[in-house]
């Protein structure tokens, strides 16, 4: 059977079977198409319990859905209407997981301006509550880990390796992780700057100091990129650091 207004039905709610038997009756053929209802059948209240059990999630109980937060939210106002802190709180309180999941792609987009928390008439710490919601979602595998955490981890790896922020390697190593082809020197296996795929914004960034004849800056960067300096006696410190990190269970290498 054809659906004449297919645009009204989300594809995931349309079920078509080659062979379909319902209550012993073979309905294959014309009646093999089913539209699943939009109905909410139950709440998952354990989701809310997990949110409210976290220190950051406590104030979720205060929300009375006035939407002062969303009205103040720059992400909602200028980017995507689906980013709606007020609505996330409502969905989390009733544990409407599928609705939260529909918004998983935008839920990390908080820019931490804290207008929501600052203005909330009921004392909800909105930004913290949303982090608590996201943490529960991540724990349950409903959402990918915060994307910027990937960079955080790479950043820490570089610091662990050199005892300092090594600009060249951080920058080009990260670019490599983004899928650009990076050329590496055969000895140290470190990326050689600008010798491969380079994003446009980075080219712009490099052109500026050249145009301005900022010689000191260029020399310093060139030196670092070639010799990969480390903090003095870093290897000894690194061992201590490794031990401490292992003891605290945060060592991930």
């Amino acid at each position: 059977m054809a659906i004449h207004e297919r645009s009204l039905v989300e594809p995931e709610r349309i079920l078509r079977k080659e062979r379909l038997v319902i209550d012993g009756v073979d309905v294959s053929g014309d009646w093999n198409l089913i539209i699943l209802p939009r109905t909410i059948n139950d709440y998952d209240l354990s989701f809310y319990e997990e949110v409210v059990a976290q220190p950051e999630g406590k104030t979720i109980v205060n929300c009375y859905q006035c939407s002062y937060c969303t009205a103040s939210c720059p992400v909602h106002n200028y980017w995507d209407e689906r980013y709606n802190p007020r609505h996330f709180i409502y969905l989390a309180r009733l544990g409407l997981i599928d609705e939260l999941q529909k918004r998983a792609d935008v839920m990390w987009r908080c820019v931490s301006c804290h207008k929501c928390t600052h203005r909330c008439p009921k004392g909800v710490l909105v930004e913290e509550v949303l982090k608590a919601i996201l943490r529960v979602m991540a724990k349950r595998g409903l959402i990918e880990e915060y994307p910027s955490k990937k960079f955080d981890k790479f950043f820490m790896d570089v610091v662990y390796e050199y005892g300092r922020i090594e600009d060249g390697e951080l920058l080009f190593g990260w670019i490599e992780k983004q899928g650009y082809k990076v050329v590496k020197d055969p000895v140290l296996k470190k990326p050689i700057p600008f010798m491969g795929g380079v994003p446009e914004w980075l080219k712009q960034l490099a052109v500026k100091p050249i145009k301005n004849l900022n010689i000191d800056f260029l020399l310093l960067n060139a030196k670092h990129m070639l010799f990969h300096p480390r903090t003095k006696n870093w290897n000894r410190f690194k061992q201590v650091l490794r031990k401490v990190m292992e003891e605290e269970g945060v060592f991930t290498h």
Partner: protein, 352 residues
């Protein structure tokens, strides 16, 4: 000049009017059609009264006792008004017990009655035993001292409050379009009481908007959520069904925030009843020629007066829930005001 005042109705408003008049030394006849004074809260065993969380005995008990002990107040139970002739200040009233009296002023405090939930057939009241009214929940607390599902006597896992049953509803005709005023607050209180005693029970309030006006906002809306974890879901319950497979009810509604239809399992559903003028109010209005709201049939105050206890007929004062939904403490205050007004109307003077 006649020196007696007739008070019709022995509920909160009537009692406080009779008490004020009696204490001023004015001969007062208090008639009550039931066998007992106290009105709905006493007759129907309310558990806790909003907004002060006191029992009906604590609030209305002292008024009953004082009225019964005042030599100036003549209490006549199981008595109704039959007819009234004449104009103020010489009303000649005939009572159902055959007595006739001449009174200088009348205080009408004939009250309200609860909406009959059977009229909303889609909500399944009297069909499914686990659909009860908020009055029955009060009685569950006050008479049985525990929360249970009438169908099996067990503690419900989930309780739903369905707001505005018999209120704000044109489907019932023009008679029930008003707000009941007390329902949101009482549900907040009942929900809090449930959560305090049974923290394992989840409580849901299904609302269109929450009208805990004035100082009731904090104790009956914020506190239930913040302190007791009562959940508020926006959407009016349109249908209640029963699922024989799990023996639970389903509340059918649209969650108007999520904008999706929902049929959620519940173990006990509490219908929050609206208020209507009592039969007595409608009857007395006809006998005394009092102005009524053409829609709700509640009594309406005089158009010339800014005070809401002054009726359209000189010498007749109206107090309490006969004029529309009202809480107990305001009923008591209106009764006191109406009593004092009646006293000044018949020219009573306080002697030094």
């Amino acid at each position: 000049m006649a020196k007696s005042v007739l008070v019709i109705g022995g509920g909160p408003a009537g009692l406080s009017a009779a008490r004020t008049l009696g204490k001023l030394g004015i001969h007062t006849i208090l008639i009550e059609k039931e066998q007992k004074l106290g009105g709905r809260p006493i007759l129907e065993d309310y558990h806790t009264l909003i907004p002060r969380r006191m029992t009906p005995q604590q609030v209305i008990g002292p008024f009953i006792e004082e009225v019964q002990n005042l030599p100036t107040v003549d209490v006549k139970l199981e008595t109704e008004l039959e007819s009234c002739e004449g104009e103020a200040p010489n009303f000649r009233v005939k009572l159902s017990n055959g007595e006739e009296h001449e009174v200088g002023a009348i205080v009408v405090a004939t009250g309200f009655q609860h909406f009959d939930a059977k009229r909303k057939g889609e909500l399944g009241y009297s069909i499914y035993p686990d659909v009860i009214t908020n009055l029955e929940l009060e009685q569950m607390f006050s008479r049985d001292g525990k929360l249970y599902r009438p169908s099996n006597g067990e503690l419900p896992k989930r309780v739903a409050f369905v707001f505005c049953v018999g209120s704000r509803d044109r489907q019932l005709g023009v008679t029930n379009v008003h707000c009941c005023r007390y329902g949101c607050a009482l549900s907040g209180l009942q929900g809090s009481e449930i959560r305090e005693k049974y923290p394992e029970v989840d409580v849901f309030c299904y609302y269109m908007d929450v009208r805990t006006y004035g100082t009731w906002e904090y104790p009956f809306y914020w506190e239930p959520q913040e302190k007791y974890g009562v959940r508020y879901v926006r959407g009016r319950i349109a249908e209640i069904t029963y699922n024989p497979q799990d023996g639970r009810l389903r509340v059918k509604h649209e969650d108007t925030i999520v904008q999706r239809p929902a049929e959620v399992p519940m173990d006990l559903v509490v219908l929050v009843l609206g208020m209507e003028p009592s039969e007595g109010t409608k009857k007395v209005a006809k006998i005394l020629g009092l102005a009524q709201d053409p829609d709700s049939q509640f009594l309406v105050p005089s158009e010339e007066s800014g005070s809401n206890i002054v009726s359209n007929r000189p010498g007749i004062f109206i107090a309490g829930a006969c004029k529309g939904p009202i809480d107990i403490e305001s009923s008591l205050a209106e009764g006191e005001a109406a009593g004092a007004e009646a006293a000044t109307f018949i020219g009573a003077k306080v002697s030094a």
